[in-house]
């Protein structure tokens, strides 16, 4: 049972009680965040970044933490999200295990980790916690909210629930809700964790940890983050070096693609709290912008008030298919926003916004220049 808090993270205490959308309150809850670039005196150059399921608030290196961040290539001085111009705030999602309060945090009422006593988490709660964080930093109006993947959902929830908080929006590989294929993937990921006997209804320890379930969940994730086409050119049918194969095990690893999945799963397995994973994953399946606003997704989108928006996604994304980004673009546009929709020809699938900076960077830079 561990949290994984970046060394330079700062915190905002959320006013108690923090009421969760689907019931339950949090007391003594907090969010972790990091900032990049300076807030100007007019306090109007702030940009909020809302993340996918697993990243922390350390989006890029900075003076207090020079280690490489998860969006290093996109964010920094002179980069597409230019911190010479913008004051960027990256908030770790509520429910995560990377500094913001979640199932791995201590419940002040009991002195024990919440584990499964943490109330049901929704994307709307993540959005509310981020909005409170921004306001606690003395910012009444953001220049832009940028949301990627799950963060694209959180951003839409934020726009709906905090309509005056931002002037513009960038949605990268986001969606108004999850489609059945994505639900099935996440359901299987959760099942892999839940069915690992070491999960033990959420009462695992560092010594008895659901490693196998987390490995499988991560491998399943990796299979949907990129594209089959990318794998064809990257791995083909290449075999692992003999030394890396599992000779002692029948049906063990043999192909490079198997080694790649195994490597990433090993890296992930001790860096994310399994219960937090379950909560965040489940919140993505549950989120439905239309349902959240008591209408259809299209109607909900058309009621969001932003001046300008940039909506991007990759045509090879199987998890949040490109038609979902098109849906966001059309919906925001019908509400009167000036919307640019950029479908990207990238082999990098859902992860394209992370790794294909050549294709995602220029439209983001251009959009932000037009907002300045």
């Amino acid at each position: 049972m561990r949290e994984f808090i970046p060394p330079a993270a700062r915190f905002v205490e959320l006013p108690a009680p923090f009421r969760m959308k689907r019931g339950g309150d949090l007391r003594g809850a907090r969010t972790a965040y990091e900032t990049f670039g300076r807030l100007n005196t007019a306090r109007d150059n702030a940009v909020l970044v809302l993340t996918g399921l697993s990243p922390d608030a350390h989006a890029a290196s900075h003076a207090e933490d020079p280690t490489v961040g998860w969006w290093e290539a996109m964010l920094g001085p002179g980069k597409p999200i230019d911190t010479d111009l913008w004051h960027v705030i990256c908030v770790n999602s509520l429910g995560s295990c990377k500094g913001s309060t979640g199932p791995a945090s201590i419940n002040p009422a009991t002195g024990e980790p919440y584990r499964l006593t943490f109330p049901e988490l929704s994307i709307e709660d993540i959005a509310d916690a981020a909005a409170l964080t921004v306001r606690a930093l003395g910012i009444d109006r953001l220049a832009c909210v940028i949301g990627t993947s799950m963060g694209g959902m959180s951003a839409l929830a934020l726009l709906a629930r905090h309509p005056e908080l931002t002037r513009t929006h960038i949605s990268l590989s986001g969606a108004v809700h999850s489609l059945p294929f994505a639900i099935a993937v996440r359901s299987l990921q959760r099942e892999a964790i839940r069915s690992d006997p070491q999960w033990h209804q959420g009462r695992y320890t560092d010594d008895r940890y659901p490693r196998r379930g987390m490995m499988t969940a991560r491998k399943l994730g990796m299979m949907t983050y990129r594209s089959a086409e990318e794998w064809d050119s990257r791995f083909g049918r290449a075999r692992l070096d003999t030394g890396l194969r599992s000779h002692d095990e029948p049906f063990g690893l043999e192909f490079e693609v198997e080694g790649y999945l195994d490597f990433h799963a090993h890296r992930f397995v001790r860096r994310f709290d399994p219960n937090s994973y379950l909560y965040l994953s489940h919140s993505m399946d549950q989120f439905d912008l239309g349902e959240s606003c008591g209408s259809t997704a299209d109607a909900a989108l058309s009621r969001l008030r932003v001046e300008q928006a940039l909506v991007m996604g990759a045509r090879t994304d199987t998890l949040f298919p490109i038609r979902q980004q098109d849906e966001i673009a059309q919906g925001l546009s019908s509400g009167g926003a000036d919307v640019e929709f950029v479908p990207v020809e990238s082999p990098a699938g859902h992860d394209a916004f992370l790794v294909d900076v050549d294709r995602f960077g220029p439209p983001v830079a251009k959009f932000l220049a037009s907002v300045a």
Copy 2:
């Protein structure tokens, strides 16, 4: 440890020793088969069907077994594979648990099931066993070999190793080898079974059976057999009826798509031997027509001698993508065969050849009419 033999299955004893391609011999091995329609006196109207990983030899109902077969809509009197005209032989794959010798069969040398002592299985072994079966039935030359999915691989291996055995070929959703995405899916399926403590290195019993691993493997399979688009229209975000949800379990089933996967997994889990699954699945990853022929896949295809071929696949197939069927068509064509390539606009993904008879039936019927 069980085999699942259709009641009307017949058997051919394979001459001993049956030498396996990757080492090891079988003694006392057999194949299970069923036939549909009559062999004519010229013995030249025989059609061989080679199946995907899980089906048995009972492709369709007939007088001796009136239960519905796995390809009922395609095969029978007046159907696209018209048994009023053709004598169809469906052979259960060697290594399966449905009548042909496999890991669940008794090893006559020990009186115990083979389990993991079964020698490594290859697609070429499946092809050889099928060819021996055909010859044992007194047929020297087939009118056509039809292979679907894994059976498409077995058919190509048969064409390469038994060049005079067939005049023509129909390849439905087949491939010359597995691409990395398919390898990753199957690797994860095998890992789910292997990591189930009840698998017990293949020494499970009916009472201690790797149910959980088999369920996960099947769910993963189901996720790749159809298409995301089909699921969008079929399930959308519909919830399961309250009675079907798992209320007692945290993060249990809630969406219809989750219930669908669970239903199919439950159905499958006791109907297939886990060790046989591992062997067959592994043989698909290993198969590489080019490697098998000591050349590239294209060169190997161009050396196959068939007069005519029909190659079909679905554009939504993510497991055996349509470019793999195109590759087969082009390769056979460059070898001089008269090839028709029919890419199908079906939402049914890899399973289209099973379920989209409206689209697969007519080209198959037309092709067979041209062969007659």
